[in-house]
């Protein structure tokens, strides 16, 4: 169609012909575009968490006469949670490696382990929330607790969503095999799962460790 061009001799590809920045080779392939978009989404999620952290930092001292950080948090539980999540992330990486080699059995095994460890994490978190609420330290007690439950709960909600996604992914891999679009989604899932780890590092440091320093 519309092909008025001043230098018809030049072909379509410009590989190495011009040093004008990325993108001179035309649109990237889907295997780049899709995860990149997802990466942007993850970054915007990080911004979301930064607002929650900012709220928490502002309100952490507003306990309104109620319990404060050092009375509520138990480091040993948090340590277990952290290790569960870390190993889950690691195993998710293993699943990616086996998936790339199209090894169905091991991929599924690693994904199951990933999910189970995620469940362990979630279980401990729910247990912690449960005991706090039972002790009268629920989110309605004070601004500090509102912001605590919202920040940590939002991470927990992300983990829950991740687990639902993981289940869907496993079913898809099982039913459809390692097709390119399934692999792209699996890659996105792993990015998501690792990102949750990064956020958790911030949470356990800021909320649980710094919060309970003497």
């Amino acid at each position: 169609m519309s092909t008025i061009s001043e230098t018809p001799a030049l072909g379509l590809t410009h590989l190495g012909s011009e040093d004008t920045g990325l993108g001179h080779r035309g649109p990237e392939s889907k295997s780049i575009v899709v995860p990149y978009g997802f990466w942007l989404f993850v970054l915007s999620d990080m911004v979301l968490f930064s607002a929650l952290f900012a709220s928490y930092a502002t309100l952490v001292n507003n306990s309104d006469g109620g319990p404060t950080t050092s009375q509520l948090f138990h480091r040993d539980l948090v340590a277990v949670e952290t290790i569960a999540l870390l190993i889950s992330s690691f195993v998710c990486g293993l699943a990616m490696i086996t998936a790339k080699r199209k090894n169905m059995v091991w991929t599924q095994i690693w994904l199951v382990v990933t999910g189970l460890l995620g469940l362990v994490f979630l279980g401990i978190e729910l247990y912690e929330f449960g005991t706090m609420i039972a002790e009268g330290a629920g989110p309605q007690r004070s601004a500090f607790l509102s912001s605590f439950f919202t920040l940590v709960g939002c991470h927990g909600a992300h983990v829950t969503a991740g687990l639902l996604w993981l289940g869907t992914m496993m079913a898809q891999i099982w039913a459809k095999g390692f097709q390119p679009h399934i692999m792209r989604r699996l890659l996105c899932f792993s990015v998501f799962w690792h990102a949750l780890d990064i956020i958790w590092v911030a949470i356990f440091t800021i909320v649980y460790l710094i919060g309970t320093l003497p």
């Binding site: 379509l12 590809t13 590989l15 990325l22 080779r25 035309g26 990237e28 392939s29 295997s31 780049i32 899709v34 995860p35 990149y36 997802f38 990466w39 942007l40 970054l43 915007s44 990080m46 911004v47 930064s50 607002a51 952290f53 900012a54 709220s55 930092a57 502002t58 480091r75 340590a79 952290t82 290790i83 870390l86 190993i87 992330s89 690691f90 990486g93 293993l94 990616m96 490696i97 790339k100 080699r101 890659l187 996105c188 792993s190 990015v191 690792h194 990102a195 780890d197 990064i198 590092v201 911030a202 356990f204 440091t205 800021i206 460790l209 710094i210 309970t212 320093l213 003497p214």
Partner: protein, 129 residues
């Protein structure tokens, strides 16, 4: 243009691109470092050996280090030329995160110290006294 060409110049975030062994090793190193840093964090927070006021700073540094480990070994974000766009996006994200957190904390701490109830209590005493 084939996907293969593209892959040489540009990679997707999170995508490991080596042999099985080196990929696995990368994850293992990542896990090891992360566990180590986590352990150190918990130790730093509970030991009495260290100078108290410095502990919080130390913990923040450890957390940042650990995030770096996750980014490099799990998310495979490196400084290589193929990663430019991923890193740029990350840099933008980090900038915004820092602005939101530092800005808010900076502003709100001033607000609270100028107007918060804490200061009123001291005033109350000053007035009464």
């Amino acid at each position: 243009m084939t996907e293969h060409d593209a892959d040489q110049l540009n990679v997707a975030p999170g995508e490991p691109h080596d042999s099985m062994l080196s990929e696995t090793i990368s994850y293992v190193i990542g896990l090891g470092l992360a566990l180590l840093l986590t352990g150190v964090s918990f130790w730093v927070a509970s030991t009495g050996v260290l100078w108290g006021p410095g502990v919080a700073t130390g913990l923040v540094v450890l957390a940042i280090a650990q995030m770096g480990v996750h980014l490099v070994f799990f998310l495979h974000i490196t400084s290589g030329p193929d990663n430019t766009n991923n890193v740029l996006a990350l840099a933008f994200g980090v900038l915004i995160v820092v602005l939101v957190m530092v800005g808010t904390i900076f502003i709100m701490s001033h607000m609270n110290s100028n107007m918060g109830p804490m200061q009123d209590m001291t005033n109350l005493q000053a007035q009464r006294g």
